[in-house]
């Protein structure tokens, strides 16, 4: 069919991500930034673009964006400004969007993601800039009834939107979704966006092309296509994978490199669908918005934001493995949520062994969280109490399994010293050697039979002996009982 042979090909994928920031008010006005409200209820004269209105910058949105930029290893612009991006569309009341053109707030970042082979893949971040979102156009009546007009809903208009653009550094669809998932964790960790995919808080647009090397060594570069508005991780991965194969087969079958164009994802057929060619760049007539003043990000402000961010999940994970000595799995679980990580750190800081605290939180803590349907960090556990309990275990005053779990459970309702609770629950175990000695003596005196069995070589009788000692005097440390008994018999 064709004399084209693909010797090998290189995949180049860049990602454009739009993140809706969870500020209370919109980007340039006090109108509320919310979701799921009746159409056109979250508007004011500014959102409507009425004559004479002026934008006032939402400082919180800028701070959120800087935090994401810092998490992505970006340079934060010490001086940035707002530009008007002009295009006519009914969901854009002013017919220009306030955005950032040549001086984005964040630029030149790098972010490491784990690759499938266990190595680390570095993704370069080209820029991240802040802008106001447009409204929504609805082409059918509620319930899907056809209408011969278009409904404009401006609830989303003017909400703060962070646009992140990566370099074309992804070489597999899996890397793309890994990055997307890591980014979701970051925005949730920073508290700057709910990052709920199904609510459109994060929208992904991969840019894809291939460098195909044929049998003669000539490199064929397919035209870049962009897949618009993907809002689930699985669709992002499937669409990217599909588009790579589509471009490759198009070249193999026809030799065509294609046109620079925009594609959509047809979820039912699981294919990418051509939407439009991008022959010419739109002329957005960018110019600095004269209604707004430039943004100066000084060192004090930046330092404060860095302080607020604290330690990012990746750094925390690394520290837990390398300095604290946790397993990578435990480290990842504790570091994934900021508050869980904080609880762990504070408990350790209160004077307990890190591994013991980690085990406590990840076994009993997680079980209690599941039972109550609340995140671990919201169970109202106090770091000092967790530390106390961890120390009780390490001091052999309480058994790490069920008894420790019971104490932790009680700590949910009662803020009292862990030892006191353990004592009230009768879970404290004695490590008093004289008490153990006495118990063993008493046992031997009363029950010579098992002892004789053991001495005549029945090893199994040892367990029964331990059980009997424990029964004799409740609350003894079983480990010590075993040791002592062995000595006695030995």
């Amino acid at each position: 069919m064709s004399d084209r042979i693909c010797k090998f090909y290189e995949v180049l994928v860049g990602l454009e991500i739009h993140i809706q920031l969870a500020t209370r008010s919109k980007m340039f006005t006090a109108a509320p930034n919310a979701f799921g409200q009746p159409p056109n209820s979250l508007v004011d004269p500014q959102v409507l673009g009425l004559p004479g209105v002026l934008p006032v910058m939402n400082k919180r949105a800028v701070e959120y964006s800087i935090k994401v930029g810092l998490a992505l290893g970006c340079q934060i612009a010490p001086f940035t400004k707002w530009d008007r991006k002009s295009y006519y569309y009914p969901d854009l009341p002013k017919n220009y969007q306030i955005s950032q053109y040549d001086l984005p707030l964040c630029s030149s970042g790098t972010f490491d993601i784990p690759d499938d082979d266990g190595s680390t893949k570095t993704i370069r971040i080209r820029r991240a800039h802040l802008e106001e979102d447009a409204g929504k156009l609805i082409h059918e009546a509620p319930g899907g009834h056809p209408i011969d007009y278009t409904i404009v809903d401006l609830n989303r208009a003017g909400t703060p939107l962070l646009e992140i653009v990566t370099e074309p550094d992804f070489t597999t669809p899996r890397q793309v979704t890994t990055f997307a998932q890591e980014l979701q964790k970051i925005v949730q960790y920073l508290g700057v966006s709910e990052g709920q995919m199904q609510m459109g808080h994060m929208r992904f647009e991969p840019n894809i092309n291939l460098h195909v090397t044929d049998q003669t060594g000539v490199v064929h570069r397919t035209a870049i296509t962009e897949i618009k508005n993907l809002n689930s991780f699985s669709v992002l991965e499937k669409a990217t994978a599909y588009e790579i194969q589509r471009q490759l087969h198009q070249w193999l079958e026809t030799g065509a490199l294609g046109q620079k164009s925009t594609y959509g994802w047809d979820d039912a057929r699981e294919i990418t669908v051509h939407q439009r060619d991008k022959e010419e760049a739109n002329d957005y007539r960018y110019f600095p918005d004269p209604d707004l003043v430039p943004v100066i990000v000084d060192d004090t402000w930046l330092a404060e934001l860095k302080r607020q961010i604290g330690e990012l999940p990746a750094a925390r994970r690394k520290r837990y493995v390398e300095s604290v000595g946790l397993s990578p799995v435990d480290a990842a679980t504790l570091a994934a949520d900021r508050h869980t990580g904080d609880l762990f750190d504070q408990s350790v800081a209160a004077g307990a062994a890190p591994k013991r605290v980690a085990t406590l939180l990840l076994s009993h803590g997680r079980r209690l969280a599941n039972e109550s349907g609340k995140p671990l960090a919201q169970l109202n556990l106090k770091p000092n109490r967790i530390a106390e309990l961890a120390n009780l275990i390490d001091q052999n005053k309480i058994a790490p399994a069920e008894p420790a779990g019971k104490v932790l459970e009680r700590l949910l309702q009662q803020d009292a010293p862990a030892e006191q609770i353990a004592s009230e629950l009768g879970l404290l175990q004695s490590s008093d050697t004289s008490a153990i000695e006495a118990a063993i003596e008493a046992l031997i005196a009363q029950n010579p039979k098992p002892l004789q069995d053991y001495k005549s070589g029945k090893q199994a009788a040892f367990g029964a002996l331990v059980g009997m000692v424990m029964k004799q005097a409740k609350g003894l440390n079983p480990k010590l009982v075993q040791e002592r008994l062995k000595q006695k018999l030995g």
Partner: protein, 486 residues
Amino acid sequence: MLAFDTIADAIQAIRSKTISSTQLVRYALAQIDKLDPAIKAFNSVYPDQSLARAKEVDAGRITGPLAGVPIALKDNICTTFGTTTCSSKILANFRSPYAATVAKKLEAAGAIILGKTNLDEFARGSSTENSAFGPTRNPWDTARVPGGSSGGSAAALAAGMCCASIGSDTGGSIRQPASLCGLVGLKPTYGRVSRYGLVAYASSLDQIGPLAWTVADAATLLNVIAGHDPNDSTSVPHPRPDYLAHLHQPIKGLRLGIAKEYQLASGIDPQVKTAVAAAIKTYQALGAQLVDVSLPHTEYGIAAYYIIAPCEASSNLARYDGVHFGHRTKEPVRDIIELFSKSRAEGFGEEVQRRIMIGTYALSSGYYDAYYLRALKVRTLIRRDFDNAFTHCHAILCPTSPVPAFAVGEKSADPLQMYLVDVFTVTANIAAIPGISLPCGFTAAPKPLPIGLQLLGPAFTEQKLLRIAQMYESATPWHNHRPPLA
């Protein structure tokens, strides 16, 4: 004319119960009824509301520095009452759900806003001929223009229909009509007065300011409208001084700059030259020292202005598309693009369309650097010119307009000639500095028409600028002249 036609007189008369606010407002409304059919200063008048407010003042329920004083507001400043049309068909029925900060401040000060005044559509023009509702006439000679774009505000005041008025100035739109109508007109420093609710023409140049018979009245109004507004990011948080304090105290050792570039400017009417020369002599007699200064980039001022203003305007006017508010075409349309273009073609006048096209072109990819960016560089140079000049003088003195009021229709056919009328005024907007126009005499032939003198000062020196203006006003009779018709 009004019995008490300045703010100061009206306030005194009302406070001393010589006249009630109700009576004063009635006189003003009667004057509007009598003269406005010929002058066409107002786009809308609100008699019932005005009289109701006047009664509140008389009953002592509304107080403030402007309590009971009838004033007029340019029809590009949003009010929650009536319409805000910008003299454009596209906003002919626009009722704003919110009020401009300046409108709120005026009402809080007790002012009675009689009505909204005519302007060149969206403040684009220098004659008030470019109004969708017809031109405003100059009360000194109704065959002539009142200047623009705040021509309605100037004519309303000159014709004695109010005690003062509010305009907006983007390239001279307060000062030039003040000059052509024999009034005091002040453009404050950019950022001194909130632009919130002023329908934008060129956002980086627009500034609201007062038109009045006297310097003191202008200071009174500035006291009310100036100050920081959190709704306007470009308004400055500097404290507002009391512009009336020390107003009558002359500046000792006053140095006035005379720019050689202004003297060399072509097209200055000889009678204007004579009047301004006489004004300079007056200042000298008052002890002022003249200083030669140079503003070498003056000749690029008009060019830069007519790039920056249309660029910003093309963007500011993009929202009038027939979708969300304003005029929408009744013609059948094939698609949304046609809805946009037909609504806009029907709704905007010729001059507005011309400036939208110039601005759209200049901002287009490939032209941006050559036009807009270049104009911004010129802007920096012009600012620097003034900074340098003001190291040598307190203020620069020059004509406001190179010509007195011209005939209706005389320049409207030739936009370029019209643009040159702004030669002495645009640079103040470009440099963001304050400027004030004062009446400084009249032409002799063909008939007496007012001539205006302009003083330009460094940013945020309105207080000083008003004192310098007051020195002249106290020494001359021009502010007492009223047009015969009034």
